[in-house]
Amino acid sequence: MVIEAVVLLGLGFLVAGLLASYSGLAERVRRVEGRAPQQSIRPDAFALSPASGLSESGVTIARLVGQTPFGDEVVLPSAGVDHDLLVAFLSSGCTSCGSLWADLREAKLPLLPEYLRLVVVTRGATDESPAAIADLAPSDVDVLMSTEIWDAFSTPGSPYFAYVEGATGRVVGEGTALTWTQVLALVATSSGDGTVAAGVGRDLAKPRSDRERENEVDLLLLNAGILPGDPSLYPTPVTEVTLRGEPS
């Protein structure tokens, strides 16, 4: 009995030692790779609560300048426009961001109001892998990579959200959230639009592969000059065709 206890105690020390050693090793590997550890916001540190946790920095942002993970160079205006901007700061490494990315890809994002444009911003290509972000990015939402945008918003970590008023470019609300439903609460408070929180899912049941295939086909048709509603998309059914020589 005593021997078993001693053996168990010894094994416990061994496991604890291995874990501590692994943790130090992982940290050293991250340093060697030149990547700072992903700073993830603890939910209890910045819990989004419209009543208490919402902050307003008052910072003014005129435009977002960055690169998409696919290499496009982009300037998006955030001031002097007639729509507001919801900037979602996400990263590839933060655990809490995983479900937010997944919901975006699977179109489980609650329906946002028409006056609001969603833009996902990750850190730039020196801090994030464009290939990893391309893999996470949904095809129908703008995703920019820019450490400068993070710095301009003084983003403390990810996930983090900022609401920018389009008329002025002023950041009128910011905070963190773990689900898109919680993000809606931020939007409702920042925009003063109480109906936003009742947002419903868009295209909930459609898998990512279907949406990506649809987007690819849409792009091919658009580049061929075939727009939605084009008559060629609605050919006459065969049953209505009168063959030559046959009685009609």
Partner: protein, 159 residues
């Protein structure tokens, strides 16, 4: 205005406008040695992430006072051919040059303008779409103000 520069294209983006400098994506059936040239999209309205080179997918969202500008690079092979014989980008567009017949695809109320030219050894198309007649007086002057800021260099010729 902010200067936006990439892939051999630079432009001063007017306040409140959106700008994308992208490279044409490979298409099914492309030849293995197909070159994918850059292009510039400018708009006074939010552009959807999925859209065609000539703005298909975006122009349907335009309101009468909106404008969409595309500068499309057709590469060195097109340069100095009959269609692209004009040297240099137009620096000023006349309101009278806009018509529905200039549109890649006619949409009710919209007007377009297309110009073919050679710049820095590249065949270039300038394509402008107005959401409606009101933009002739509100947006054409803005387009004319930004056209001289568009600079194309040989950098974008690289495949």
């Amino acid at each position: 205005m902010t200067i936006h520069r990439a892939l051999g294209i630079s432009v001063d983006v007017p306040r409140g406008w959106e700008a994308w400098i992208s490279r044409m994506a490979p298409q099914p059936g492309d030849h293995v040695e197909e070159q994918h040239h850059p292009y510039l999209h400018l708009a006074s309205f939010p552009l959807p992430p999925v859209r065609a080179h000539y703005g298909g997918g975006a122009v349907e969202r335009m309101r009468p006072d909106d404008v969409f500008v595309a500068v499309l690079d057709f590469g060195p092979d097109a340069a100095n051919t009959t269609l692209f014989a004009q040297s240099g980008l137009p620096r000023r567009l006349a309101r009278s040059g806009f018509s529905a017949r200039q549109l890649q695809r006619m949409l009710p109320g919209q007007l377009g303008s297309q110009h073919f030219c050679t710049v820095a050894g590249r065949g270039i198309v300038l394509y402008v779409v107005l959401g409606g007649r009101v933009a002739l007086s509100t947006k054409v002057p803005m387009v004319n103000a930004l056209l001289p800021s568009i600079v194309l260099t040989r950098e974008g010729v690289i495949a």
